[in-house]
């Protein structure tokens, strides 16, 4: 269903002002989060930066934005804005022909999401400290802002979002499951379109900041929903559509960077569930005590799990396939990467189940932090003294179970489609997902 047929939606997306209003609110919130992390109370549970970034934002991102809006967060993310405005030399005015900065092309060898895999893992390995220490959170938020600004002055378009952002990688991957998409209406219109203003820009707007030609879009992965192409398309040929969940997954990716992203997210959810929610004090200590030998051991286990154990077992299970591929390759790169697509729905549901646990447990801190964001004794909304209390505890376990079982079924269905594409059996992947689901159920429940 095409949402942009609705004139209200269409006009709201074509105009720059509604988006600008949201951008300003998000940017102000982001800057305030950095400030709060630096000058507010060092007690994480009462600091705006920790509570609003790692509890409120994360809850919205993983429980709402990604599953239902795909890259919806990227559409309003404030991180690239200062760099983008600097790069363009304008906030609203359409671009000049002449670039204002270096405007280099991103290096070809890095045109993949391996850097995003690395940046996510870097944060993940320090996450126990990052998620609890306001000034570390502030430094990381500021670093991302400045990295985006720096890259905007060197490279063209949104290089940070496309190739470096630690969350952009998994949002893109999981956005394939979302029931919303930006697509062209008529392919032939794009083929015959002069100048391709959606990619190159025009007097009406900028060329795709995500370096994507909308005419070739078949997946959500790298479309940031910035809406620029809706403004630049001279033929009104861009639409926002509602669609069935996981429509993109019927065309499995064969890229190893994306396949390993799936394993990174899959494994990280399991490890986090063990470290943050599990009863193992030694594991928690190892994760928290950055720089110690125990932490290095934790790093080895973390990376070993993601890069060796999980993909290794996956590969091994594929090699046991009762119906190997016609060429007899068994575990070829294409088969491996295609079938790794099946891990996306389950991986997303792993994160949903894990996030439900700590978000519902800590949600009351949002009320406290809202009234006293810097820990200065304010009570702006009368909620500063809200007692900590886990919320909706009675539905937590059923909701997590439902998410995991639903994710398993969803992944099994995806595995069947992906296996059909590369002509191998889906059974090993389904068994792999089943065992992983049991492990996650054990970790969470």
């Amino acid at each position: 269903m095409e949402l942009t047929r609705n004139p209200f939606i269409k006009n709201a997306l074509k105009s720059r002002y509604p988006q600008l209003a949201v951008f300003i609110v998000m940017l102000v919130g982001y800057v305030f989060a950095i400030l709060a992390g630096l000058i507010g109370t060092p007690v994480g549970s009462h600091n705006f930066s920790i509570v609003f970034v790692w509890i409120a934002w994360w809850a919205i991102l993983i429980l709402v934005a990604v599953p239902f809006f795909g890259r919806g967060w990227c559409a309003v993310c404030p991180i690239p804005l200062p760099g983008e405005w600097l790069q363009r030399g304008a906030v609203l005015t359409p671009p000049d022909k002449k670039p204002k900065w270096l405007n280099l092309r991103w290096p070809k060898a890095l045109r993949n999401i391996w850097l995003q895999n690395i940046s996510f893992l870097l944060l993940a390995l320090f996450s126990s400290v990052l998620l609890t220490t306001p000034n570390i959170t502030a430094i990381v938020l500021a670093a991302m802002l400045f990295a985006a600004i720096g890259l905007s002055t060197i490279f063209e378009r949104r290089s940070f979002c496309r190739y470096l952002c630690p969350v952009g990688g998994f949002i893109g991957l999981y956005s394939q499951t979302a029931p919303i998409e930006l697509r062209i209406k008529e392919k032939q219109v794009c083929v015959t379109c002069d100048g391709k203003p959606c990619y190159n820009g025009s007097a009406n707007g900028y060329g795709c900041p995500w370096d994507v030609f909308p005419g070739g879009l078949t997946k959500n992965t790298y479309c940031g929903l910035c809406m620029e192409c809706i403004r630049t398309c001279p033929h009104d040929n861009i639409a926002i559509n509602l669609r069935p969940f996981s429509a993109d997954l019927s065309k499995p990716s064969t890229r190893m960077d994306e396949a390993f992203k799936a394993f990174i997210m899959f494994g990280s959810a399991m490890i986090y569930a063990g470290v943050l929610l599990g009863p193992w004090g030694a594991l928690k200590d190892a994760a928290y005590n950055v720089g110690t030998s125990a932490w290095f051991m934790y790093v080895i286990i973390f990376l070993g799990m993601i890069f060796i154990i999980l993909p290794g077992l996956f590969s091994f299970s594929l090699s046991l396939s009762p119906n190997p591929s016609p060429a007899g390759r068994g575990v070829g790169v294409r088969v491996f990467a295609s079938l790794a697509t099946a891990l996306l729905p389950l991986g997303l549901m792993f994160w949903v189940a894990f996030s439900l646990s700590f978000v519902l447990t800590n949600a009351t801190y949002i009320f406290v932090s809202l009234s006293d964001p810097l820990g200065l004794g304010w009570n702006l909304f009368g909620t500063a003294n809200t007692a900590w209390q886990p919320m909706l505890t009675s539905i937590l376990a059923p909701a997590q179970t439902l998410a995991l079982v639903g994710g398993l079924i969803w992944s099994a269905r995806t595995a069947q489609k992906a296996a059909g594409e590369v002509k191998v059996s889906s059974i090993p992947v389904i068994i792999y997902c089943f065992i992983a689901t049991l492990a996650m159920l054990w970790l969470l429940l």
């Binding site: 940017l27 102000v28 400030l35 000058i39 007690v43 549970s45 009462h46 820990g375 004794g377």
Partner: protein
Amino acid sequence: MKRSELLSRILITVAVLATVGTPLFIWARTPLIHAKIAEDGGWNPDIIKVNVGEPLHLKLTSDDVVHGFAVGQMDMQSVDVLPGKVTDITLTFDRPGIYTFFCTRWCGLNHWRMRGTIEVTGASDSPIPAEPALGEVERVPMYVTLGLDIDAPHEAPVIPSSQPSASSGRKLAANLPIDRSTDYYRANSPYQVFGELSNTSMTDSQRWDVAAYLWQSNTTAESLANGQQLYAQNCAACHGENGAGDGVFADDLAAAGESSTQTMTGADNMTMQTPVDFTDPTRMLGASPALLQGKILRGGMGTGMPMWGSIFTEEQIWDLIAYLYSFQFNYQGVTQ
């Protein structure tokens, strides 16, 4: 430049500057006293200055765990200082001097090191002389008057075979010509009283009972209750709820011994880290109240035992000492 572009730039600039500037301005004008466990710095700031008679408004916050705040030798209720929250308290000092504020929650191994001072200056309306200004402990303490070496060993060579009973001792003491004055009680150890009764026909057990009675008759139920409360709040963390030297920090103190800066000669002095066992009769029955007063007032000097002279009043110290002896003597069955 288009008007919309200009307005957008102004709006963004103002919004960001206001977001940064307003909280910074308010933050800079809200001085907080931060509490952290002693290992991370304790109180910050740890020196506060105020004039006599002027209300001192303090905003306290904890940067880590739950702490407590109280000022020594002041009649005030301790307040909790919670992580990430702000506790407001207003104090007024009517006498000049240097007051000690301290943590009242067992926040960590070096909890007792969490102390700071409030320097109160200016003229006092009080008829009490300005120097010394605080409480009554500035009087020369009894252990000094008596010339006691509070670091010397003070073990009792003989100890009772069972817990001495003040109730039994009361009957035995009725016709004895013993000094029942407070000064006598404070200046002597139970063992010394036991020794002085050696020329009577009483058995060893009976002599200990008399000592128990003498100790009991020099305190009151109210003093014991006050002493018990002080002990529970300030001493039990190391010395244990039942006085056996097995408080929640005892093991950590022992473990920290060698590396701790509290010891002067490292491993050789590790035993100094072990909190005293008040249930040990050898040690307690050989100690006079005046000796214990010295230890409490001054502290352990190189051990983990803090000095309490700037925190407890003299009366509180005597109450505490009376309670310490209750680990040795059975006071039950005696009415005042």
